[in-house]
């Protein structure tokens, strides 16, 4: 896939000045549709605020696929929700097409959601309302954001269902979610998300609940639609193998932080952070000769949100931990890549 689109962005318009606050070389030049700077998200619990995301920055260009990879609890789904201002943002900023979400009223945010930025979820079984027809749910979304009458919105719904490869779309409008398979439901979710032609689509583990063959279909569908509409896609997954083919760039999250970011090919070729190396080593590869011996596994478990040790949160599980790791490593940029690790702080 288009691993080098990002490189094209930077070479084609490399003369443009990078923004002063943490410029991302990957999209420098092309005005990013989505900019996240030092995002902080905390959930209120009975035991006080628990930080779920502590300082995430990223840029997304139009038509680009940015994958966020991490274990469960790493904060990746929270980042996804925060992009739509659906998680409690306590610091930093999310800018969508130049507009800071923090400065928008609730009404303005609602107009943004679904139209400028849309989201699909992991569970297509439960993400659709079980007692409303697919037609109702699709047409509701379309009419919410576009000045169409019922008939025109219905036409648009049928058109979108066709686009996502659903046969006999007119008949489907009268059906309920339980009458469709999981893959079909996810296609409906995608049709709904893209029905208002948003600039950004956030896909939170869109294939995790699906069969492997269906996974591939959905991923390639997403990729086709991204290319057709020029939508920027933020793809959230715990499975680094899933994104190898579709993502332009990958950001690896650990304990609420982005610890490494790189173009996909670079990340797979030479992971820099010990955690990323561990992740990649734990994925079985058919393109490499078998190493002989069991697949490598990361020892231990990630810290619970808010329970990370001081310094680098990966330190307790890291085979290369040093004394300096008890203080937080800075995010270091190296060309198109960045990494948060003392090993690379040069």
């Amino acid at each position: 896939m288009a691993q080098n689109t990002t490189a094209q962005h930077s070479t084609a318009q490399g003369a443009a000045a990078p923004s002063p606050a943490e410029p991302s070389p990957a999209t420098a030049g092309a005005e990013p549709v989505l900019t996240v700077r030092d995002l902080q998200v905390s959930y209120q619990t009975d035991d006080g605020p628990v930080p779920a995301v502590t300082g995430v920055s990223l840029d997304l260009a139009a038509g680009e696929t940015y994958a966020i990879v991490g274990e469960s609890g790493s904060g990746k789904s929270t980042v996804a929700l925060a992009l739509l201002a659906l998680a409690p943002i306590v610091g930093g900023e999310v800018r969508l097409a130049g507009r800071d979400l923090a400065g928008l009223s609730r009404h303005e945010l609602r107009r943004l959601r679904g139209r400028e930025i849309a989201m699909i979820f992991q569970e297509p079984m439960t993400s659709l309302n079980p007692v409303l027809t697919l037609g109702y749910q699709l047409i509701e979304t379309i009419r919410l954001h576009q000045p169409l009458d019922r008939a025109a919105a219905r036409g648009r719904a049928i058109e979108m269902l066709e686009k996502v490869g659903i046969s006999d779309p007119a008949r489907r409008l009268a059906q309920y979610p339980h009458e469709l398979s999981g893959g079909m439901r996810q296609r409906v979710m995608i049709a709904m998300a893209l029905s208002c032609n948003p600039r950004v689509l956030v896909a939170d583990e869109p294939t995790t609940a699906l069969d492997v063959t269906v996974q591939a279909q959905i991923l390639s569908l997403l990729d086709d639609l991204r290319a057709e509409f020029g939508t920027g896609v933020v793809l959230i997954t715990h499975d680094i193998g899933v994104v190898a083919e579709t993502a332009d760039r990958i950001g690896v999250m650990y304990a609420g932080q982005l610890i490494e970011e790189a173009p996909t090919a670079d990340l797979f070729a030479s992971p820099m952070h010990p955690y990323t190396r561990g992740l990649l080593a734990s994925v079985p590869r058919v393109d490499l000769p078998p190493a002989g011996g069991p697949l490598a596994a990361l020892h231990g478990t990630p810290p619970k949100p808010g329970k990370a040790p001081p310094g680098c949160p990966f330190r307790p599980r890291c085979g290369e931990a040093m004394d300096v790791c008890s203080t937080m490593p800075p995010l270091t940029r190296q060309g198109l890549r960045s990494v948060r690790c003392w090993l690379h702080d040069r």
Binding site: R113, T126, P130, V131, H145
Partner: protein
Amino acid sequence: MLKFVLRRLLQLIPVLFILSVLVFSLVHLVPGSPIDVLMGDIRDPVVEAALIARYGLDQPLPVQYWRWLTNLLQGDFGTSIYSREPILHMILARFPNTLLLAFASAVVALVISLPAGIIAALYQNRLPDFGAMGIALAGISIPNFWFGILLVLLFSQYLGWLPSMGYVSPAEDFGAAMRHLILPAITLGTAMSANLTRLIRAEMIEQLSQDYVRTARAKGLGERMIVGVHVLKNAMIPTVTIIGIQFGGLLEGAVLTEVIFAWPGIGRLAVDAVYERDYALIQGVVLVAAIVYVLINLLVDISYRYLDPRVKLG
């Protein structure tokens, strides 16, 4: 659909048979007999024996039961020992009154519990929630009849706004009928709303945490639409069951409320029948109430088909 209804109606037959045996046995287990009541202060063994023979009470119970059952199957519920009216007549004359009261009570219950339950759920563990739940708890704890008496004291005795008891047919004088309906309907409706409020609150809270709510928010839907359409339609599915069961209960006659407000419904008919040991009448009332109850449940099941598309009847 038709097949479903037919099968459910067929299932009614064994239920009613067992019920008829139970009712018959229970009635005859109650000490005292209608003859005692009929005889009053007269002490004449000859008259007594004649009466007993006349009503067939000298026959063995299985024989009495068989006679009652065979008549019943021909649509003959028997006649009341006292009023000499056909029992089916008496029941059918009272039933619309009970239906009216039940319906009005259900409306009162819904008008209270629907907004209260929704608001409590939306403001979970905050002041409006505590308020609604406190009132609901009081509603469950306060005896129905006592609350009815308090209402009479306030609105009839002190304020003089509403009649304290009695019934006027809506066909005769609609305004007066409504005025007579208000207090008993509020008494029953508030009792019903206490449970319903708690149920609706719990269902709403459960549904508000579902994934489809997140989807609705992510597509930019306003909270009013999310709550009013997406969540409410899901939350109503279990709620309708409870409403149906409670409504069925009301149709069997709210005994205490009907007695307090002198409301000529099924409940009072049943109480009077028990006092007078009017065997055939008691049996008839209980049987009709059971049939109505089962039919209401059938209606609830059918309504599922419309509320929840996942339910297939058959």
